[in-house]
């Protein structure tokens, strides 16, 4: 993953570059806002951007605003860099649309931790979350297509009884002749004859190819595995896709069904769903504060109420004093993301007047709201952006809190 650092101060930029590289990430440097903006227009623009507040041409705040109004780009994680550390400066930074605010001089561990949050957020806004969900649904179904669309390109992963039968990308070759082209002994004419036989008899092509002695079943399986594996990896890399699972009843024509583990990357097979009551520990968590009987009773009720909000994916309640998760419902909570927002909420002069904190990505909206004002506890909700209305969600979440 690449990170853009825009800073007119070469010394600060050099330190940040060294920190980013030490985290194993690639770093691009821009010495003013204009150069940074040009880099952000490119097709493979970095999706993690660190912007110095005060720099020539376009300052970091203005650049952040410009990034946020772009509708056609994938979500970009923006952190404002500044030697300003007054509360109003930090607030202004967030109001411009920044995800984070890092003060100079940089502290190594802090910057590295924030980079991990940025990476996690970017990953969560990509294809993987929805694709994981669709694949999980496909595996449980009797059959159907995981359809991944990015602008004019459509990828399909065809499932049959929980196993992978085929994968195809709309603008790439996918004929049997193309797949077997690398196996020199099979000619196009033979493939055509095999397909005519399949059409006439209803047999699948694997059986015919093997029966005619054109290829062994083992070699055919190896060839298909490699082909489908490559296709699925390319589908998973589609930028900003729409992903759905479409149940279909169709007969797979290949005759070779592959286990998902053979052709799909492990991170796409990992289920994100962990219905649980918690508690979970978050970074910084140490000491559990005792809960009153009333609160211990109310928290599960509140979580149940929150997770039933239309489009809610996960709900959790945290104690801000020690970072302890007091309970959670729904999908696994991104603890790094939550903790970065909790840290903001925990700033004393924000907390007293805080209604809620929201962060929106292309697929999700995250809302964090005080659950009890004193002692400070917060309720966190992750929502599927496509299926919810923000005003309704905020009102509904307000009804879940005690504060």
């Amino acid at each position: 993953m690449r990170v853009l650092v825009a800073d007119d101060d070469p010394f600060s930029a050099a330190v940040m570059e060294a920190l980013i590289r030490s985290a194993g990430l690639e770093c691009l440097l821009a010495s003013d806002g204009h150069e940074a903006w040009q880099l952000l227009q490119t097709a493979d623009a970095p999706r993690i951007v660190f912007l110095d507040w005060m720099m020539p041409e376009i300052d970091g705040i203005e650049l952040c605003r410009r990034i946020r109004v772009r509708a056609t780009h994938e979500y970009t994680y923006v952190a404002i860099l500044s030697s300003r550390n007054k509360q109003r400066d930090i607030t202004l930074g967030f109001q411009s649309g920044a995800d984070d605010f890092i003060t100079k001089p940089y502290q190594t561990e802090e910057v590295l931790a924030r980079l991990r949050v940025a990476e996690r957020l970017i990953r969560s806004t990509g294809a993987s979350v929805n694709l994981r969900r669709a694949i999980a649904e496909a595996r449980e179904s009797s059959g159907g297509d995981v359809i991944v669309r990015a602008e004019h390109r459509v990828g399909r992963i065809i499932f049959d009884r929980g196993r992978v039968a085929w994968a195809h990308i709309s603008d790439e070759p996918g004929s049997l002749a193309a797949i077997l082209a690398g196996e020199g002994s099979i000619t196009r004419e033979e493939v055509r004859a095999v397909l005519e036989e399949c059409s006439a008899t209803g047999e699948n092509f694997a059986d015919v190819l093997v029966a005619w002695g054109l290829i062994t079943r083992e070699l055919l399986r190896t060839v298909l595995t490699r082909w489908i594996q490559t296709k699925i990896a390319r589908i998973a890399a589609f930028p900003a896709p729409v992903v759905i699972f479409s149940p279909e009843s169709r007969v797979a024509s290949s005759g070779v069904l592959l286990d998902p583990e053979e052709v799909i990357a492990p991170d796409l097979l990992h289920s994100a769903v962990t219905p649980d009551n918690g508690p979970l520990m978050v970074p910084g968590g140490a000491t559990a504060h005792a809960l009153s009987d009333d609160l211990a009773r109310r928290i599960p009720q509140s979580l149940q109420q929150a997770i039933q909000i239309e489009g809610a994916l996960s709900a959790a309640i945290f104690d801000l004093r020690d970072g302890l998760c007091l309970g959670a419902r729904g999908e696994a909570v991104d603890l790094d993301l939550v903790w970065s927002k909790l840290r903001l909420a925990a700033m004393s002069d924000i907390w007293d007047d805080l209604e809620d904190i929201m962060i929106s990505t292309r697929q999700h909206i995250y809302v964090l709201r005080p659950y009890t004002k004193a002692p400070p506890r917060s309720i966190f909700l992750a929502i599927d952006r496509a299926t919810t209305k923000l005003g309704m969600v905020r009102r509904a979440l307000a009804e879940c809190v005690i504060a």
Partner: protein
């Protein structure tokens, strides 16, 4: 501030004209370390100290000369940008006292109605602080083998 500054001569640093700004009495930094030991250690661990300190020592006179020119031309945005950059880069390199001194200048520029006047005492203090800081940086850089 004056008590903390070792006013020793530094041969590899020019003596640039120092911008003068009328700051409120007592607003100049007092007691801040010349170099923050933890930042020095971080830079050393990142393998940057031997490169960045000499570069900063070389660049600083020109930066201060540009700040002085901006002061002379009453170029407020230019002054503020330069003071801000010097404040930030000094802080990033652990030059806490110098960063705070540039911070005083930047803050004075930001303040509404700040007045400008020659202040030889402050100018001398800043010049001495620059000399002392760059000397300390030169010592650290010399003690750090290139990696």
């Amino acid at each position: 501030m004056r008590d903390r500054v070792n006013d020793e001569p530094v041969t590899n640093v020019h003596s640039p004209p120092i911008p003068v700004v009328d700051v409120q009495p007592g607003s100049a930094p007092v007691g801040a370390p010349l170099l923050d030991a933890s930042v020095v250690e971080t830079l050393r661990q990142l393998g940057l100290l031997g490169r960045l300190y000499p570069a900063f020592i070389t660049a600083l006179p020109d930066q201060i000369a540009r700040l002085s020119a901006a002061v002379a031309a009453d170029d407020r945005p230019g002054m503020r940008m330069l003071a801000h950059t010097l404040r930030g880069s000094s802080a990033q390199l652990g030059a806490t006292a110098l960063s705070e001194a540039f911070g005083v200048i930047e803050d004075a520029l930001v303040r509404d109605g700040c007045s400008w006047s020659a202040d030889p005492e402050l100018s001398a203090e800043l010049r001495a602080l620059v000399r002392a800081t760059t000397a300390a940086m030169a010592r650290e850089a010399a003690a750090t083998p290139d990696r």
